[in-house]
């Protein structure tokens, strides 16, 4: 409702402003061009995110100081804390970095934005910045039309910078000309009243423009033209810092709970920093004056002093908040939690797939890998409980013969119901998400994505095969015929062994263990297939089982064979191919079907 009124009202007010003042038109056009430049710049940097940016983020955030440094450097280079926020939320949503690492990056990004103030105040206002914009726009546009994605990215960055410069130029010109018609400085408000009022204006302006950088440039240009007082400019800068959290909050809306926690951390950090700046404004201003003297900055160079102020109060914010990062993480994890499911079985939804993770190819890939592992965890639960086995016992060191003696519950679970609630939706979301994600991926990544989709399909098919198997497991596990009972016990044992081995593969780092276990699964799948090993013929020939039992056993042995094969394929893709070190070892030492048969023949 408010959005429906707000947007047309803004348009009407702008139209009225344009009608009344040509200078207002120039300032507004300057802001619009500046914002468009930021969009173009973000687009340019995003085209490089398939490699450098996200790889750097993944490997340079393992320590707090590294996270902070990444935030500062990346924001300084890209001149967009919004892009860094989105990137961080995307990686956090995909589970590739932790909340504490994400908070470190966001704190650093806040400090990184101050470089924008320094650049505009120290350089942008002193030279004819518009003159640099023109060649950048021309060369940038030429690059944008190139087919090569890297050149295209360079083109977007150049046009982005060109538009940023042009925007600053128009804002500067607009304020200079505005001075002759209206003197905005006449509306300056002093004291704490002015401090609060202009902080609020700074917040509103940043929320509307969704860019603290744009607000800051507007403040600096207005300050340099003498349209606002230095004191009010400081308050506006504090407001811009608080208002910028809206970008992170909007970005987190489409993210999972981790993304929301990060947005909350960003809000808390900027609120605390803003509060400190307001409470200690006198002391900070004194520190700014002292720093300006040390840096040989003229006493009346208010634009550079504003940049110093911006840097100082963000640095103070970081220094104050660093000792409380773990407390903040703990608080956010406690307060912002996922809604618990209210039905008996528990309807499970995707945990890592979200719109934010789609922003960057590597975060999308990471999210799909994690979600497929999540799907497997659910499948493990269904397969184990479907055969009335205890998960805890399967992954323990207990002898498998003992494991199958423990039952999960008195009656067997309804696999169909579990499938509907814990597999179907996640599987369908993985496929939909993968289709969307591959639009931004390289051919090699699309190939990897295809393999991951196959892994998901293998998991789903293993669950479906378990459903078919369950009926006879229930029927024959307590059957008076000892032969058939024994065969079904062996089936349970075979599945328990498979689940245990996959669990080891998923949790160990030892390459030799992984390679041997995968081969063992392949060999045992063939060895325990009662059709090929002649066991079924023997049971029929000796009339140990009826024809009906034989048919059931034959059908079920196919299901077991399928479950083993599907889950082994899945394990290869999910736990080995996703690990680059193991991938080439597995490629070299992968055991083929012919080799399995030859090994079994040697034994016979």
């Amino acid at each position: 409702m408010s959005k429906n009124i707000f947007f047309p009202l803004t348009l009407i007010l702008l139209a009225y402003g344009f009608y009344k003042s040509a200078d207002f038109q120039a300032i507004s056009a300057g802001i619009a061009i500046f914002l468009f430049g930021m969009l173009s710049l973000e687009q340019g940097f995003k085209s490089f995110s398939g490699g450098i940016l996200d790889r750097v983020l993944k490997f340079s955030t393992d320590k707090l100081y590294k996270s902070l440094l990444f935030g500062v450097v990346s924001t300084s280079i890209m001149q967009s804390s919004s892009l860094v926020s989105i990137l961080t939320i995307s990686f956090l949503g995909a589970g590739l970095i932790t909340l504490a690492q994400g908070i470190g990056v966001i704190f650093g990004a806040n400090l990184g934005t101050t470089t924008g103030a320094w650049l505009v105040a120290g350089y942008g206002l002193k030279v004819n910045i518009g003159a640099y914009a023109m060649p950048m726009l021309v060369f940038g546009t030429l690059f944008v039309f190139q087919k090569n994605s890297s050149l295209k990215g360079v083109g977007y960055i150049l046009t982005g910078l060109g538009f940023l410069f042009l925007g600053i130029h128009y804002m500067k010109e607009g304020f200079e000309a505005f001075k002759s018609t209206i003197d905005l400085s006449a509306y300056a408000v002093g004291g704490f009243k002015g401090l609060f009022l202009f902080t609020l204006i700074g917040i509103v302006a940043t929320v509307v423009m969704q860019s603290s950088h744009a607000t800051l440039v507007l403040i600096i240009t207005a300050l340099s033209a003498g349209q606002i007082s230095y004191e009010n400019a400081l308050a506006l800068a504090i407001g811009a810092n608080v208002g910028t959290t809206i970008t992170a909050i909007l970005g987190a809306m489409s993210s999972n709970i981790e993304g929301k926690r990060l947005a909350a951390a960003h809000l808390i950090f900027n609120l605390v920093t803003g509060l400190i700046a307001i409470v200690f404004i006198g002391q900070i201003v004194a520190l700014v004056d002292w720093s300006a003297t040390q840096l040989s900055i003229a006493h009346d160079n208010y634009t550079l002093k504003l940049a110093i102020f911006h840097t100082i109060f963000n640095t103070i914010g970081i220094l104050v908040m660093i000792p409380f990062i773990n407390t903040l993480v703990h608080f956010l994890e406690k307060t912002l939690q996922m809604k618990p499911s209210d039905d008996e079985i528990g309807h499970d939804n995707v945990a890592y797939l979200n719109e934010a993770a789609l922003e960057f190819p590597q975060s999308a890939m990471g999210a799909i890998i994690r979600e497929t592992k999540h799907l497997y965890e659910n499948a493990f639960e269904i397969i184990a409980h479907g055969l009335n086995l205890k998960r805890g016992k399967i992954v323990s060191s207990l002898e498998l013969e003992e494991v199958i003696k423990f039952t999960h519950s008195k009656k067997y679970i309804d696999i169909e119901d579990f499938y509907e609630k814990r597999i179907k939706d996640i599987y369908s979301d993985i496929i939909t998400f993968s289709t969307k994600a591959q639009a931004n991926m390289s051919p090699k990544s699309i190939e990897n994505l295809y393999r991951l989709k196959l892994a998901s399909r293998d998991i789903v098919e293993a669950v479906k095969n378990t459903k078919h198997l369950q009926k006879n497991i229930v029927k024959f596990s307590a059957h008076p015929n000892q032969y058939i009972k024994k065969e079904y016990a062996l089936i349970k044992l075979s599945i328990a062994e498979l689940l245990r081995n996959i669990n080891i593969i998923a949790t160990t780092d030892e390459e030799d263990v992984i390679i041997l276990l995968l081969s063992k699964i392949r060999v045992n799948t063939q060895k325990y297939d009662i059709i090929s090993n002649g066991k079924l013929d023997e049971l029929i020939r000796n009339k140990h089982i009826t024809n009906q039992m034989a048919t059931s056993l034959m059908n079920d042995s196919v299901y077991v064979y399928n479950i083993r094969n599907k889950l082994c394929n899945m394990a290869e893709i999910l736990f080995i191919e996703a690990n680059s070190d193991l991938k080439h070892l597995q490629e070299e030492l992968h055991i083929t079907q012919e080799e399995v048969e030859s090994l079994l023949e040697q034994k016979e």
Binding site: D512, I515, K520, H584, L589
Partner: protein, 80 residues
């Protein structure tokens, strides 16, 4: 000297030309070492008294390890 030749010379100097192959060889050698250690352990275990079932399981594992040792050795020869 052309740019390509300069890059090639630098790559040769830094031993980067066979980077992938060397990496594979190193991983295979490490794996081979671990497999051999495992084989020794199993052979030692087989010398001790163990039940028929345990002996069967150990022999099966030994077969798999020997198979992979042979395969890894062959791959190493191919890469050399």
């Amino acid at each position: 000297m052309g740019a390509k030749k300069i890059i090639k010379n630098i790559a040769d100097f830094l031993n980067l030309t066979n980077f992938t192959i060397n990496g594979k060889k190193r991983s295979l050698k490490d794996l081979l070492k671990k497999l051999k250690e495992k084989r020794v352990k199993i052979l030692r275990a087989l010398k001790n008294e163990c039940s028929e079932e345990e002996e069967k399981a150990l022999n099966e594992e030994l077969e798999l390890i020997s198979f992979h040792i042979r395969k890894a050795k062959k791959k190493l020869e191919d890469l050399s």
